[in-house]
Structures are given as structure tokens and as C-alpha cells.
């Protein structure tokens, strides 16, 4: 077979080069378009997940200077003298649910031993940062927590 370069791509006539690169470009555009469509396809647009906001009770139900744990919903409701804040009970290390230890008045994670203070700040452990402080608000006399909204580390709902 002759492979001396007659009619090779890249060299050869201008028309040939044009057709080659147009074909390549078209293939590239089609592939990119196809990839974009597939990527969009695998992105779920409708989620059947429980709502992230839920009621936790009335302010009167929580004693001053207390931590109330709701492990099923993975939050701690903390009441100080000043007001309320909510902490996510999910450990910032790898996602285990932490536990509040009454005796030591601290929050610890059973998976790898991270410890957090009552205000969620990091004390010890492989966790890289403190527990997320999440949004809590008063609505019709009831406290509502929204785990999807994170707030500042020292934000407090003053009641």
C-alpha cells in the first residue's frame, strides 16, 4: 500500500483540510453536546426528600441553659440565657451522628472520637471544624429549625 503522503490529512489540498477539520469540529460539537445532555439527565430536578424545615416546640418547652437533642432529625436545640441556637448533630469529620454527654456537658462523636463544646466549637478530634450552626426562627409562637440554612457561628435567636 502506498503511504507516501498523497492525500494525507493535514497536508494536501485546502478543500481536503477544510473538510477534515469541519468534520472533526462537528464531531467535537456533537460529543460535547451529547455529554452536556447526559450530565443534565443525571441531575435530579425533583427530589422526594423530607422537608428540611420542621417545628421543634415552643420556647417555653426548653429550660434555660439546656441542650435538647433530636437525634432522629440530627439537631441540638440549645437555650442559653440570651436566647436560642440550633446545631447540626452531624459530625463534620465524616458524617456520623454525634451524641451529647450529660456528665461531661460536651458533644462527642462515637465514630472517631471528635469532641465539641456546648456551643458547637471544636475541642478535639479528627473533625476539621465545629458543628454547623443552623437556622432557627420563631413562627406563630413555635420554634422552627431549617437544616438547609447555615448561620454565623455566634448567631443567636434572642428570646
Amino acid at each position: 500500500m502506498d503511504d507516501q503522503g498523497r492525500g494525507q490529512t493535514g497536508s494536501g489540498s485546502d478543500r481536503r483540510r477544510f473538510l477534515w477539520f469541519s468534520g472533526l469540529g462537528a464531531l467535537g460539537a456533537a460529543s460535547a453536546g451529547g455529554a452536556a445532555v447526559v450530565l443534565d439527565f443525571v441531575h435530579p430536578k425533583v427530589l422526594f426528600e423530607p422537608p428540611t424545615a420542621f417545628r421543634v416546640g415552643r420556647p417555653e418547652d426548653f429550660p434555660v441553659n439546656s441542650i435538647t437533642a433530636d437525634y432522629a432529625r440530627k439537631v441540638y436545640i440549645v437555650r442559653t440565657e440570651v436566647g436560642f441556637f440550633a446545631l447540626s448533630a452531624v459530625c463534620t469529620h465524616l458524617g456520623c451522628i454525634t451524641r451529647h454527654l450529660e456528665e461531661e456537658d460536651a458533644i462527642f462523636c462515637p465514630c472517631h472520637g471528635s469532641r465539641f463544646a456546648k456551643d458547637g466549637s471544636l475541642l478535639v478530634g479528627p473533625a476539621p471544624r465545629g458543628l454547623r450552626r443552623i437556622a432557627i426562627r420563631l413562627e406563630d409562637g413555635e420554634l422552627v429549625v431549617d437544616t438547609a440554612l447555615e448561620v454565623e457561628k455566634d448567631a443567636v435567636l434572642r428570646i
Binding site: 443525571v42 441531575h43 435530579p44 427530589l47 422526594f48 426528600e49 465524616l94 458524617g95 456520623c96
Partner: protein, 240 residues
């Protein structure tokens, strides 16, 4: 009548000869033809030098890994007849396989053991290739293919782990996806895609099932083809 004559008698019909294109003559040419004309057999060369099949050179680790992959495929397909990747069926189906289905526990255990054994064999195979210098030019690319196959093996183990939908599965996936989410920039998006949402729920189970049973095995099959082809093209197993 010799075995060879018996085979010739068996083969003396149109149906047989349409399937098998070789005769039963014991000549070098016919032996070669028997191998070439069979898609499964021709993965191996017709003749191998004695040094290629020395046990302690390869310890059959690559072959073992592939054999385990086949065991996993067969047991996996059989398990698929009873498993539904939905909540709450997944856990119940796993229990059914354990206690109700004939040989269910055996097949499930075989699947699990073969998975662990394959990971071990693949690592040992990688070690053998490394210490025998079988990655040196012109075999560098096949090493890369091998590493990709290792990653696929581990991903197959990881995706399969979720399917029983028990506590072990749930928290293993929690940890794994949180690790993935820790990657800068694309991490959280990748976690969202992997789980099909924000929580580990029904979407995650189905996605992991599809990855485990279709996407990853297909990718592995393609790369295995390249991997074997490369070994043949580079002259087969050749100890120094």
C-alpha cells in the same frame, strides 16, 4: 477407535462443521487453526514458551483476578433475579436470599468472598508486576490500564456494599460520599450526583445499583480487553 477418530465421526455433519471450522488432525497447522478460529481460545497464543508459564513468576495472579471477575459476574447475575434496588425491598430481598432461596446464602457468600479475594489478587498482581519490572517500556501503558482496573475493582466493591441496605452499608456510604464531597470545587456537586439528591435514600440505591451492575462492569470489560490485548502484543508474559 482412537479419540481423534471418534471426534472425526462426531464432526462429520453439517451442523458441527458450521460451528467448528477445524478438523481433528493432529498437525501443527491444525492445532494453530483450532486456536485461531475460536474467539475465546485465541486470547491465549497457540504456543507458549516454557518460561512464560513458570508458576512462581506470575503465581497466576492476573488469571485468578479475571477468573474471580467471572465468578462475580455469574453469581451477581443470579442474585439479580431476587434483588430489587428499592426501599424497603432491598433489605428484605437480601434476607430472602439468605434464608429462603435455594442456594441463596451460598451464592451471596460466594459473591462476597470472590469480591474480597479479587481485591487481594489484584493488589498482589500489581505488586508482582512491579517487582518483576514488567511495567518497563514498552509496557508502561498497560500499567496505566492496570491501575484503572484496580480503581474500578475498588469502586465495584464500594458500590456493591450499599446494596444490602443495612446499617453497615448506609454508614459506609455516608463516610465515602462525605469524603468525595471534601474535594475542592466539584466535591459537593459530585456527591449530589452520586446520591441523586442530598440524602442517602432511594435515588442513591438505584444509582449505586446501576453503577455496580452495568456501568462499572462494562468499563472493566473494555479495559480488560485492552489489558489482555496489550500483554499479547508485547510478546506475552516474559520473565527476564
Amino acid at each position: 477407535m482412537s479419540v481423534l477418530e471418534l471426534k472425526e465421526r462426531l464432526a462429520a455433519n453439517h451442523v458441527w462443521r458450521s460451528i467448528f471450522r477445524h478438523r481433528y488432525v493432529d498437525s501443527n497447522r491444525n492445532r494453530a487453526l483450532t486456536i485461531f478460529s475460536n474467539v475465546f481460545l485465541h486470547i491465549h497464543p497457540v504456543k507458549v514458551p516454557e518460561r512464560s508459564i513458570r508458576f512462581w513468576h506470575t503465581m497466576c495472579l492476573g488469571g485468578l483476578s479475571f477468573a474471580l471477575f467471572l465468578v462475580l459476574t455469574v453469581t451477581g447475575v443470579l442474585l439479580m433475579f431476587y434483588y430489587r434496588p428499592a426501599i424497603p425491598q432491598a433489605y428484605r430481598d437480601m434476607k430472602e436470599l439468605e434464608f429462603v432461596v435455594s442456594s441463596g446464602a451460598f451464592l451471596r457468600n460466594l459473591h462476597r468472598w470472590a469480591a474480597h479475594a479479587m481485591v487481594v489478587c489484584v493488589f498482589l498482581h500489581m505488586g508482582r508486576v512491579f517487582y518483576s519490572g514488567a511495567y518497563r517500556p514498552p509496557r508502561e501503558f498497560n500499567w496505566v490500564v492496570g491501575v484503572l482496573l484496580l480503581v474500578l475493582t475498588l469502586l465495584l466493591s464500594y458500590t456493591g456494599y450499599l446494596l444490602p441496605w443495612d446499617q453497615l452499608a448506609f454508614w459506609a456510604i455516608t463516610v465515602g460520599t462525605n469524603m468525595a464531597a471534601a474535594a475542592p470545587g466539584i466535591g459537593p456537586k459530585f456527591k449530589f450526583l452520586l446520591l441523586g439528591g442530598n440524602v442517602i435514600g432511594e435515588n442513591a440505591l438505584v444509582r449505586f445499583y446501576v453503577l455496580h451492575c452495568v456501568v462499572l462492569p462494562l468499563a472493566a470489560a473494555v479495559l480488560l480487553a485492552v489489558h489482555f490485548w496489550r500483554v499479547r502484543k508485547d510478546g506475552g508474559v516474559r520473565p527476564l
